[in-house]
Symmetry: C2
Subunit: 212 residues, 2 copies
């Protein structure tokens, strides 16, 4: 039976998995390190060995979230056939699906930036960046996978003549913004499920218009 096996073996993975579930089912306010430790059957101090503080756990969740989002969007594009508008719609639909299923996680992924700086406000060496923190390195790297995926879609559209020429980086930024904005309206309950299809279709149509 082994009441307390190894040192739990893979506490880090267990904490992350349980955290993902709690986040999905009960929201971020219900996410506590002590509670996760309880569910994993370890003492409340144990998580410290794997996550320096609560923010480190949230960063790890955001990182995994970005990796999964990038994967799902890419898979949707790859499975959408040849028609370019259909590929755009598939990317947007996959993004919205992620937002619907993991609203709190997506908020977490695009949140942060504001919380931690307060501590360092009095700290002279960090005073210059006290109000413009960047996401942590690992989170940023994972979020760039999403940008790369969308960038590939943009480049393909320009090659096929379905998108206007010009700086692909600017178009990529605008498309990510649009996708994230739709997701933000969905997670905040300002878009009904019945409106999503139209919004996705309009997004694809908007980007494939020709300049006047």
């Amino acid at each position: 039976m082994a009441d307390r096996p190894y040192h739990h073996g893979n506490l880090r993975a267990a904490l992350l998995g349980e955290a993902e579930r709690t986040l999905r089912e009960q929201g971020i306010d219900a996410l506590s390190l002590r509670d996760l430790a309880r569910q994993a059957g370890v003492s409340h101090g144990a998580p410290r060995r794997h996550f320096e503080d609560r923010q480190a756990l949230l960063d790890a969740l955001a990182e995994a979230g970005f990796n999964r989002l990038a994967d799902e969007v890419r898979a949707a594009i790859d499975g959408a056939g040849e028609d370019y508008q259909a590929r755009l719609r598939a990317a947007a639909a996959a993004y919205v699906r992620f937002a619907t299923r993991d609203a709190a996680l997506l908020e977490l992924m695009f949140g942060a930036k504001n919380a931690k700086n307060a501590k360092n406000a009095n700290n002279a060496e960090n005073a210059n960046n006290a109000e413009n923190a960047e996401p942590s390195g690992a989170v940023r790297a994972a979020s760039e996978r999403l940008f790369t995926t969308v960038g590939d879609l943009i480049r393909q559209g320009q090659q096929d003549g379905q998108l206007p020429p010009g700086d692909p980086g600017r178009l990529r930024l605008l498309l990510v913004a649009t996708l994230q904005g739709i997701a933000s309206l969905v997670t905040s309950g300002r878009v009904q499920d019945s409106q999503v299809d139209a919004l996705v279709a309009d997004t694809a149509a908007l980007f494939t218009r020709s300049p006047r």
Copy 2:
């Protein structure tokens, strides 16, 4: 001198004002009812008379935020002259300015929805909407002022022939989504200040293109 004047007179307004400042300067994690009470010079139980719980305070902040955002966007449009693209750019720029100055507040305005439902999960009478809560009535009403402002801009563009005809409601939703998406990238630190002008210009150009 009057150490403790009336009953503080306008505790509600004082709490809201201080909360707005804390939110701006230190982020949402630093926002505590007990701390606000301390700064207002009242006991920690006093805020309860004006805000039933912490969420009620956050709702009031979000409500005020939406009213101010709608006002600022409308003022920017009204002050932008006759050129329609310039009016679009002014609206987008005002939105981004709000996001830059009050990042945490904007996140709060488009957040929520997920946190409160957990409590009612076991409650049979509320089981049906346990995973799709709407923003509180007052917040929703204030957020609709933003939608109305953007809707007026859309209608004007269609009348002037600067925007394609069709359901103005759909176009409005897409424009709000785009603005909120840009803001989300800004508040999460994924758009540099130097990229904002191009993004704003590209947004205006995108919407005023003609269908191919």
